[in-house]
């Protein structure tokens, strides 16, 4: 029985509650080609929000190495196994989402999760607090692909030996799985920005959200006997500031803003006028993709996939748009995408959220609600030195001339 529209899957999907969207939706874009796994984001979050007793295992922001890293252990693999075959027909997802796997009729209020009837009919598993949360860096820097031999060459865009870093936070999903599963309706989405929060007054430690969030971002705090999750740094974003993990990101891989549905997306041209950067990346350029869209929750963190990893693996993570995203991303290198290039330079250069950006005379300019908050050149000025130089009568050959 169709319930709510999920544009990432191009179809109606099942969800226990009616479709209702916030006035604006908190959203993020991470460029995975730039993450160096310094974990500055992880620590910025940890020292801000999860430094108390009972939160030792919590990393609201974590960065794991793909394909072998996962925190908690095997979080994605275990849920995917539960979901069965995941087929796409073009842009339309034909497999089951986590709420569809067990063929529950969510239209029938009888099936809504209640205190008496905790719902077990959602794909996924309950992480074990003793074991599953214990190794946040398991699989770090573990490579996939061929054996490392002396004669291995990295000629193609896709590398024969590969891994990449995947920073993860709560996706502040449109159809939040944590909220969909909570039997006492303690989890809610703020109407003003779509941030998903657990009401600590209402939480009764049923822990169902720990199971029904497939990203495992709702986590139980044994000291406080409530579940807790990423709050999107709303005290900062309410003032226009980017969350802690964004502001501190050394790789400048993160952009914070707000996203619309494809129907309502900002279709203006940043070469001519201020444009919503998330709509530009996700809807216009289709270069940033949601993580595991097939879970069915319409997550709101979007990723530019890493160009060195194999496409079939990336399609499992980010859906069918990977090849197209690569094509657009590579066009930046050929100077064909000045607005995109400008935006990727702009992100990380300001501590503000960016609600609009434009290209102005060779510079990318970012705005927060009309105020200019950042300005960077699209192409950094470069000087080139001679490749061969004479120093003290000797000829010196330079490897790096820029």
């Amino acid at each position: 029985m169709p319930q709510v529209h999920n544009w990432q899957l191009n179809r109606e999907v099942e969800f226990p509650y009616e479709e209702s969207r916030p006035e604006r939706q908190w959203a993020a874009m991470f460029d995975l080609n730039k993450c160096i796994e310094c974990q500055t984001c992880t620590l910025a979050c940890k020292t801000t929000w999860t430094h108390e007793e009972g939160q030792e295992h919590m990393f609201w922001n974590n960065v794991e190495t793909k394909p072998y890293g996962a925190h908690p252990i095997g979080w994605d693999k275990r849920t995917l196994e539960d979901m069965g075959t995941m087929e796409w027909d073009g842009d339309t997802y034909e497999g089951d989402t986590i709420f569809e796997t067990e063929d529950v009729d969510w239209d029938d209020p009888e099936n809504h999760p209640t205190e008496e009837r905790i719902n077990e009919d959602v794909a996924g598993f309950m992480p074990d607090i003793e074991d599953d949360w214990r190794y946040p860096n398991l699989g770090e820097d573990e490579t996939a692909g061929e054996e490392m031999d002396l004669d291995v060459h990295f000629d193609e865009d896709t590398h024969p030996i590969w891994f990449f870093y995947l920073p993860r936070i709560c996706n502040h999903c449109t159809y939040a799985g944590c909220a969909g599963g909570c039997p006492v309706q303690a989890i809610y989405k703020r109407p003003e920005d779509g941030v998903v929060l657990i009401d600590r007054e209402e939480c009764q430690a049923q822990m169902v959200c720990n199971e029904t969030c497939p990203y495992k971002k709702a986590q139980y705090n044994p000291a406080e006997t409530i579940s807790q999750k990423c709050v999107g740094c709303y005290p900062k974003t309410e003032d226009g500031r980017a969350p802690q993990c964004f502001e501190t990101c050394l790789g400048k891989i993160r952009l914070h803003g707000y996203i619309n549905t494809p129907e309502e997306a900002d279709d203006s041209d940043p070469m001519a006028e201020p444009t919503n950067p998330l709509d530009f990346l996700v809807h216009q350029k289709e270069v940033a993709l949601p993580l595991y869209p097939q879970f069915g929750l319409e997550p709101n963190v979007y990723y530019i996939p890493p160009t060195t990893a194999p496409v079939d693996y990336l399609e499992q993570l980010f859906g069918p748009g990977v090849e197209d995203a690569f094509e657009t991303y590579r066009a930046i290198g050929d100077g064909e995408e000045p607005a995109l290039e400008g935006l990727l330079n702009l992100m990380g250069s300001t501590e503000w959220s960016i609600t609009a950006f434009e290209v102005d005379d060779g510079e990318a300019v970012g705005y927060y609600e009309g105020d200019e908050v950042g300005r960077v050149p699209i192409t950094e000025p470069q000087t080139e030195r001679d490749r061969v130089d004479e120093v003290d009568g000797e000829e010196v050959y330079r490897l790096d001339i820029t």
């Binding site: 209020p109 190794y135 209402e202 044994p222």
Partner: protein, 309 residues
């Protein structure tokens, strides 16, 4: 509210329930109903507060590097004894001992350097964070708490001062500042103001200096038997007097500097190390969902090495 009416979009469910039941509680209502209608003025008087302020600031000076601006001189120790005499016999005796042990500046400078100076690499740490249980990752928030106290009373760590906010001298100066305000407000008859500053002194002592002063004093006595040991005894006597008078119950820091790196209560014995990389874990393969990388170059090399032997 029936389940089918629920929408995940909306304000906090706890407040939604309140609205539907017609309740309209606010934080102010809470305060009004809980507040004691006739608050009692905290113990003390203006003169004692002033003596206490003087003692705290002289103690801060005494623990500073003895040169130019820092360190106690003869006049100071006389003032110290006079102020202490107005408070309590034990405090007075401790202050007299400080006066008795006052040596010349050059000598004290040498002792100070070997106890606290970087010259000989910090025999005794004057910083609160050193004494707190848990790793730096979780104790740093105490710094923010301390700075929050300073900010709340409109003061901050001076730009020229080289120390971190949890330094014993700053904590003593802050307490001196609070006592000084206490004295002024009592003279002005501002009861509400007095309650606020005494409450702040209470909370600050309970959350900060009151927790670790005894470890700090103990460390000094273990490494010194002269002037600084006497200052440490005076510090302990004064804070203990405060704890008794204000009826405080600070949670004392552990009596060794052993650090608990990770919560053992939750993670068992393995909680001692970080365990992040799984390197120290045995039987990882048994864990459900473990990546089980069949082609781990690291382990293969180790295996080859064993075979060769």
């Amino acid at each position: 509210m029936s389940d089918s009416d629920f929408s995940i979009l909306g304000g906090p469910p706890s407040e939604r329930n309140d609205e539907s039941s017609g309740g309209n509680r606010t934080a102010r209502d809470d305060r009004d109903t809980d507040a004691d209608p006739t608050p009692e003025l905290p113990p003390g008087d203006a003169a004692t507060a002033l003596h206490r302020a003087r003692l705290y600031s002289l103690l801060a000076l005494g623990l500073e590097r003895p040169d130019g601006n820092g360190g106690l001189e003869m006049d100071d120790t006389t003032a110290l004894v006079n102020a202490a005499a107005a408070l309590d016999r034990t405090v007075e005796d401790a202050a007299t001992a400080v006066d008795d042990h006052l040596t010349d500046t050059a000598e004290r400078k040498k002792r100070w350097a070997s106890l606290f100076g970087v010259e000989e690499g910090h025999t005794v740490s004057p910083y609160e964070l050193t004494y707190l249980p848990g790793p730096l990752l979780t104790t740093v928030r105490q710094l923010a708490d301390i700075r929050g106290f300073y900010h709340a009373f409109g003061i901050d760590v001076g730009e020229k001062m080289p120390y971190r906010g949890d330094h014993v001298c700053y904590q003593l100066e802050f307490l001196a500042h609070l006592c000084l305000r206490d004295a002024r407000l009592r003279r002005a008859g501002d009861d509400e103001g007095v309650t606020i500053v005494v409450d702040a002194r209470r909370t600050f002592l309970e959350a900060h200096l009151g927790r670790w002063f005894w470890r700090f004093a103990g460390e000094i006595s273990a490494h010194d038997d002269g002037f600084f040991a006497a200052v440490a005894d005076l510090l302990a006597a004064l804070v203990e007097d405060e704890i008794a008078i204000l009826d405080l119950d600070p949670e004392w820091v552990p009596d060794t500097s052993e650090v608990t790196e990770w919560n053992e209560g939750i993670f068992g014995a393995a909680g001692r190390s970080c365990g992040g990389c799984g390197a120290d874990a045995t039987g990882l393969e048994d864990l459900e969902g473990s990546p089980g990388n069949p082609r781990n170059p690291g382990s293969q090399t180790a295996q080859d090495g064993l075979d060769d032997r």
